[in-house]
Symmetry: C2
Subunit: 309 residues, 2 copies
């Protein structure tokens, strides 16, 4: 989703879009974790590489081998291919590489607001793989193989499209479904607090990361992005404000202890000082996050369309 | 060195010692990073595994491929072999695994004393590989493949044997060589502060880690060990106290900016609260560290033997 929105914002000339599944506009369909594929991608020496590829959290947890193969080996193969390209006959090559990491690199227990020097102690295989990607990125950048920057995205909200099975799905679902006139299930108490960015903010982070003067990063190449900290109750209150009581009433409470247990291990709030100092900007409020969804996905209308069949 | 001292302390029955080079008592000589070797090692289902294997800091920095192959791939292959053994026909298998990590997982800038929640931002490939090993260890332990504990060793001092080319070599050299009646070169100012443990303390950490109730660790399986924080000046003062002025005068100042630059990126001091609460104990002072060297390596004599040829 982020990849598609991002490419829509990039100049389309000389753009290579690679994905493991064919999608609209993909110019290369390949498995980055398969031997030789990363080399093919970097052979044309792109100046700027966005590395978003990942098996998502739920799948990486369910399928240990696949998660490590794609999220760790795929990332390492890409980094290796760049290093080898730069050490080859064609001479030096040092592209900017923007890597999407995640706040899943952090694991409970947390301080009230997680600072820029807080340890990565992930509680999922996905978070582990992203944390390893960050370490590799820093080491390769320090050695001059590429000019890397890792962007720890907040939970993206409101994620457009159909509901998915991710444990985090309800954070978007309780906004997206009611705005579409449909019922949404809320599996956790309203007191649960989490860290959000709109898709629009996320794209802006990646574009800013592509241009930033990385000398300002020093050796620490991975940055927690600013976001909006909101409780589920505050999310619902914002929905009520933007779309009215009738829409907000479409949220049905159905506690699910398994989901609550997962979500309790997630970070509630950050003090993203470094990223702010480097010019990264968060959404202003959860209300703004909802308005962005309405503008970008619902043609500006907060009046529910007829329910989907 | 640690491996040899450790095995001397273990009951020798049913002990498998693996190393890539033949050494006194090694029962398996193999390259852990070569396919199939780790599987052979775990086939007999040892209950307790000490994983110390590593390409050292200087070599991992000089040879990028070798460092990643041995320190990252070797570790991953071992972890994978254990997981596969446990998922195989012979039924569940979940050994205790003690992994030697290093304070090299930390990189400057530092707070005055580094706490248990400080980020891993290594400034060397060796530190990066150890930090990745820690992440893999935590994830594999969380998933129940083995019962892992990572021990971040302080800089070991006094390291016995010949001087080596490691940037950290002088920390031991300025004690070891004078005690042997030889001159030692000090390449940094006396104000440099660092974090030390004697070989004896290091062995005790690993033996304690083998027995500890890991439920007390929670999800955070990697621990900074307690140590002695001392400046080079304090090291020399302790040497003077233990062995006299004549011995201390064998230290020759020869500033080396390259070494200073490396050492400045190293951690000066820690607040190793978690490990202390779990019963890990440091040496009491740098003086004690010197006395341990004299007891364990010099047959109790602090009178310099005749200089080696």
């Amino acid at each position: 989703m982020i990849g598609r929105k991002l490419t829509a914002r990039l100049a389309t000339e000389e753009l290579i879009l690679q994905d493991v599944v064919p999608f609209d506009g993909a110019s290369v369909v390949s498995d980055l974790s398969a031997p030789g594929e990363a080399e093919k991608l970097v052979a044309s020496r792109p100046e700027l590489i966005f590395h978003l590829a990942a098996v998502v959290s739920g799948e990486a947890e369910a399928d240990f081998d696949k998660g490590y193969r794609v999220n760790l080996d795929g990332t390492r193969r890409l980094f290796e291919a760049i290093r080898k390209e730069g050490g080859g006959a064609a001479g030096p090559y040092r592209p900017r590489l923007v890597f999407t990491s995640s706040i899943a690199v952090f694991g409970a227990p947390f301080p009230e607001a997680i600072g820029d020097e807080f340890l990565s102690a992930p509680l999922t295989s996905y978070g582990t793989q992203k944390a390893i990607g960050e370490l590799l990125l820093s080491d390769c950048s320090r050695r001059g193989f590429f000019d890397g920057i890792g962007i720890r995205l907040p939970t993206i909200c409101v994620r457009p499209g159909k509901p998915n099975k991710a444990a985090s799905g309800f954070f978007s679902g309780i906004i997206r479904e009611p705005l579409a006139g449909e019922e949404a299930v809320l599996p956790v108490p309203e007191s649960v607090r989490h860290w959000f960015a709109s898709p629009r903010a996320a794209i802006a982070f990646l574009l800013h990361a592509a241009k930033i003067n990385t000398e300002r990063l020093g050796a620490r190449r991975n940055l927690t992005m600013p976001g909006v900290s909101a409780t589920v109750g505050e999310q619902i209150e914002a929905l009520r404000k933007v779309a009215g009581e009738k829409v907000a009433r479409l949220i049905r409470r159905e506690p699910d202890r398994a989901i609550l247990r997962i979500v309790e291990g997630w970070p509630p709030s950050f003090d993203a000082r470094r990223a702010l100092a480097l010019g990264f900007r968060a959404d202003r409020s959860f209300e703004e996050i909802i308005r962005i969804h309405i503008e970008d996905e619902l043609q500006g209308s907060s009046v529910p369309r007829p329910a989907r069949a």
